[in-house]
C-alpha cells in the first residue's frame, strides 16, 4: 500500500497532539508504517519543509504572525490540511487570554514587552481553508485513526457531530447535570471522548470545544439555576474554545 506523504507542524500549544500521534495512542507502529513523514521537527532531523504533502496535520493555535505566513505556504502545497486538537480547531486553552486585554496578560509575565510579538490566539481556519477537524485535547484517538484509515482507503472520514450527552446515554452513564446538579458542559460539547469525564464522575469541562448546534444560552441559564455566580458561568464558556461563536453566546449573557 502506498504510504501517505505527511507533514506535521506545531504552533502555540503543548505538543500533546503530536505525543498522541507518536506515543499515547494504541496503534503507533501501524501509524508509522502507514505514513511517510516528510516533515516533523519533533520526530525527525532535517526533512522537506516545502512538501508537497498529501496531508498536513497542524497542532496549536496561531499567536504570532510568522505562523500565519508559514501556514499559508503549507496550505499551498498540501492536498488536505487538517487542524488536530483543540488549540488548532477552536483556540483551546491558549485562547483563554483572548477574553482579556492582551497587554494585561503580557505584562504579568514579562517586563520587556518590546521582544514579545504575540497576538490573540486564533484557530487555524481563521487563516486558511481546512479539510476537516480532528478534535480533542489531546486529539481523540478514534478520530485520528478514522482520518488515517480514510486517507489510506480514499474514503470520506466520519467524525461525530453530536454532543457528549449522546455518548453518556450510549454508555448508560447517569446524567451528572440532571441527577446530581453538577455544572456539566456535555450538552454543548462535541463528542468523541467517549464521555470520559462523566464516566469518571466528573462534569465535562468542554475540552473538545462546541458541537455545531450547541445551545449555550440555555445551558448558561441552567447553570444560573444551579446557583453558579455570573463570573463562574463566564469561566465555563471561556476555558476552552473561547473564540467560538457557540461558546461566546453562553459567556456573553453573564459578562
Amino acid at each position: 500500500m502506498k504510504k501517505i506523504p505527511l507533514g506535521i507542524f506545531k504552533y502555540s500549544c503543548c505538543a500533546g497532539c503530536q505525543f498522541q500521534f507518536f506515543f499515547f495512542q494504541e496503534h503507533v507502529l501501524e501509524t508509522l508504517g502507514a505514513v511517510d513523514i516528510l516533515y516533523c521537527k519533533m520526530g525527525t532531523s532535517g526533512g522537506v519543509k516545502e512538501g508537497p504533502f498529501e496531508v498536513a496535520l497542524i497542532e496549536g493555535a496561531i499567536t504570532e504572525s510568522w505562523q500565519v505566513d508559514e501556514l499559508k505556504r503549507i496550505r499551498e502545497v498540501s492536498r488536505f490540511l487538517i487542524p488536530i486538537g483543540s488549540c488548532a480547531v477552536n483556540g483551546g486553552i491558549p485562547a483563554i487570554k483572548d477574553i482579556y486585554p492582551e497587554i494585561e496578560v503580557e505584562k504579568r509575565v514579562y517586563q520587556d514587552l518590546s521582544v514579545i510579538h504575540s497576538v490573540k490566539a486564533h484557530p487555524i481556519d481563521e487563516y486558511v481553508r481546512v479539510d476537516g477537524y480532528v478534535r480533542g485535547c489531546p486529539m481523540g484517538e478514534r478520530d485520528l485513526l478514522e482520518l488515517l484509515t480514510s486517507l489510506l482507503l480514499n474514503t470520506k472520514p466520519s467524525f461525530p457531530e453530536y454532543c457528549v450527552c449522546v455518548e453518556c446515554k450510549l454508555k448508560g452513564a447517569i446524567c451528572l447535570l440532571i441527577a446530581e446538579g453538577k455544572p456539566c458542559m456535555g450538552p454543548v460539547t462535541n463528542a468523541g471522548c467517549g464521555a470520559l469525564c462523566p464516566s469518571h464522575r466528573r462534569a465535562c469541562y468542554g475540552c473538545w470545544g462546541p458541537v455545531s448546534d450547541a445551545n449555550a444560552p440555555a445551558l448558561a441559564k441552567k447553570f444560573e439555576q444551579l446557583g453558579l455566580a455570573p463570573d463562574d458561568i463566564v469561566r465555563k464558556f471561556t476555558q476552552f474554545a473561547s473564540p467560538t461563536i457557540e461558546f461566546r453566546k453562553g459567556a456573553e449573557m453573564y459578562e
Binding site: 506545531k10 504552533y11 502555540s12 500549544c13 503543548c14 505538543a15 500533546g16 497532539c17 505525543f19 498522541q20 507518536f22 506515543f23 499515547f24 494504541e26 503507533v28 507502529l29 508509522l32 508504517g33 513523514i37 516533523c40 521537527k41 519533533m42 520526530g43 525527525t44 532531523s45 532535517g46 526533512g47 499567536t63 505562523q67 483551546g92 486553552i93 491558549p94 483563554i96 487570554k97 482579556y100 494585561e104 496578560v105 503580557e106 504579568r108 509575565v109 514579562y110 517586563q111 520587556d112 521582544v115 514579545i116 504575540s118 490566539a121 485535547c137 489531546p138 470520559l196 469525564c197 464516566s199 469518571h200 464522575r201 466528573r202 469541562y205 475540552c207 463562574d232 469561566r235 476555558q239
Partner: protein, 419 residues
C-alpha cells in the same frame, strides 16, 4: 584567526522550538545563544482571574508529555494555599501517577528523541524495520505505563480524575492487579533498555554543575521533601523564591533561573541520581555498577543513562506500591479559603515550581511557574561553551551535531519553558 559559525535553525527531536547560534574565533566561542523562540502562551498571565479548581486542568496543557507534573504541582500549591491536607491515599495515587509519567517520558526521550542520534538516523521512524525489536520493546513498555497513568487519572495524557483534595473516581481492584502483573513482565524490557542505553557512544565530556533535586529522608522524593543541592543547599520548598531567581533573556522567550547565591544549576535524572543514588533499589544500583555508572557523574550526556536507570526504578516502585494497594472512596470536599502557597515536585525533567495567591472566593490573584528547562537553561549554555571550546578543531557540521546532542541529552522541554 579562523572563524566558524554554527547556526541551527531549529533543534529537532525536542519538545518545542529552539534555534542555536554560535560563533567561534580560533578556539574560543564568542557568541553562544540558545534562542528559544517557542511562542509564549502567557499561562501566568491568564491564570489570574480563573477559579482555583480550573487551574490543574489548565496547567496540564502547558506540556503534552508531563501534564501530570503540572497538575500535581498545581494541586499541591493550591492545597497549601488553602490549608488542605490531602489523605495518604491521595498522596500515594499522585506518586503512582507521577512515577508512571516519568517512565513514559523517559521512554519517549530515550527511544524516539535521543536514540536516533547514537545510531546515525534522522528519527525513530527511519529506524524501522532494522530496529523493530527495540521499538517493539518501547511499545510494550509504553502500553503498560500509559494504562497505569490512565488507571489512576482516567487518561494517560491530560488526566481528568485528579482534583483538589482527591480523585473523582478510583480504579477497580481487578484493574490494579492486572497492572501489577503487567509491570512485572515489563522489568526485563527495562533492564534491556538500561543495557542498550549504556552502549550509546556518549561524548567524552565532563563539567561539574550544581545539581539540585527534591530530597526526603526515607524515599526517592517525587513531591514531598526539601530542595537540596550538591553545593550544600537544603531548604524547605516554601522558601524556593528566597533562594532561586529568574531573569529575562533578550534572545529567548524562556526565562533563565539560577541559584541566587550561586550560578547555573542542573536538574533532572542525572542531578537526582548524583544526589540520591543510595535511595534506588539494590538491584538498580547493582545494574548501574554493571554498566559502569558511578556517582558523582559530571558528564551531562549521561543524563540518558540516568534516565534509563530511573525508568527501571520507576517500574519497580510502581509495582511495589501496587502490591498491597487497596483503595477506598473518600470525602474530598474542602473549604475555599484565601491564601498563598508554593509547591515543588520532581517532573521527569527535574525541579518544577508552582505558586499561587488565591482570594476568599477561590479566584487566582497571582501565579508563578518555573519549569525544569528554565532551571537547566543557563547550564546547557555553559556546557555548550565548554564543549565547543574542546572541539573547536572539528568541522562546523560536527560541532553542530555535538551541540544538538548535548541539548537533547538534557531532554529539554521548550513548550514548558516558555509556557
Amino acid at each position: 584567526m579562523s572563524e566558524k559559525v554554527i547556526s541551527i535553525d531549529y533543534l529537532a527531536r525536542v519538545e518545542g522550538e529552539t534555534a542555536i547560534k554560535i560563533s567561534i574565533k580560533g578556539k574560543e566561542p564568542q557568541e553562544l545563544k540558545l534562542n528559544i523562540f517557542e511562542p509564549p502562551r502567557f499561562f501566568e498571565g491568564f491564570l489570574v482571574g480563573r477559579k482555583h479548581d480550573e487551574v490543574p486542568d489548565i496547567v496540564a496543557r502547558i506540556c503534552g508529555i508531563c501534564p501530570v507534573s503540572h497538575m500535581t504541582t498545581a494541586l499541591r500549591a493550591i492545597e497549601k494555599a488553602m490549608g488542605i491536607n490531602p489523605s495518604q491515599q491521595t498522596k500515594i495515587l499522585r506518586r503512582l501517577m507521577s512515577l508512571s509519567q516519568m517512565v513514559s517520558s523517559h521512554l519517549i526521550h530515550l527511544y524516539m528523541l535521543a536514540m536516533p542520534d547514537y545510531y546515525g538516523y534522522p528519527g525513530a521512524q527511519e529506524m524501522l524495520p532494522e530496529f523493530t525489536e527495540e521499538l517493539s520493546r518501547l511499545m510494550r513498555m509504553k502500553k503498560v505505563m500509559n494504562d497505569l497513568t490512565a488507571a489512576i487519572g482516567g487518561r494517560a495524557s491530560h488526566p481528568v480524575s485528579a482534583v483538589v483534595n482527591g480523585f473523582t473516581d478510583l480504579s477497580s481492584p481487578q484493574a490494579l492487579k492486572k497492572l501489577h502483573r503487567d509491570l512485572e513482565k515489563t522489568e526485563d524490557d527495562a533492564v534491556r533498555t538500561v543495557r542498550m542505553v549504556s552502549e550509546f557512544p556518549f561524548a567524552n565530556f565532563f563539567r561539574k554543575a550544581e545539581y539540585v533535586a527534591l530530597n526526603a529522608a526515607n524515599h526517592y522524593a517525587m513531591m514531598e521533601g526539601s530542595i537540596v543541592s550538591s553545593e550544600g543547599l537544603d531548604i524547605p520548598e516554601e522558601d524556593y523564591e528566597e533562594y532561586f531567581e529568574e531573569e529575562e533573556v533578550s534572545y529567548s522567550m524562556a526565562k533563565r533561573a539560577k541559584v541566587k547565591a550561586g550560578g547555573p544549576l542542573m536538574v533532572g535524572a542525572l542531578a537526582r541520581l548524583n544526589l540520591k543514588f543510595d535511595q534506588l533499589s539494590p538491584s538498580v544500583r547493582k545494574l548501574a555498577q554493571e554498566v559502569g555508572f558511578k556517582i558523582p557523574d559530571y558528564n551531562p550526556f549521561h543524563n540518558n543513562l540516568a534516565q534509563s536507570l530511573e525508568l527501571l526504578y520507576g517500574i519497580q516502585e510502581c509495582r511495589q506500591i501496587l502490591e498491597n494497594l487497596e483503595l477506598f472512596p473518600e470525602d474530598s470536599s474542602y473549604r475555599v479559603r484565601a491564601g498563598e502557597g508554593g509547591a515543588v515536585t520532581e517532573a521527569p525533567r527535574g525541579l518544577l515550581y508552582h505558586r499561587y495567591a488565591i482570594n476568599a472566593r477561590g479566584v487566582i490573584e497571582k501565579a508563578n511557574i518555573v519549569t525544569p528547562t528554565v532551571h537547566n537553561f543557563a547550564n546547557i549554555e555553559e556546557d555548550m561553551r565548554h564543549l565547543v571550546r574542546q572541539n573547536s578543531d572539528l568541522p562546523e557540521k560536527k560541532i553542530a551535531l555535538l551541540c544538538e546532542m548535548l541539548a537533547r541529552a538534557y531532554d529539554p522541554c521548550f513548550s514548558c519553558s516558555v509556557h
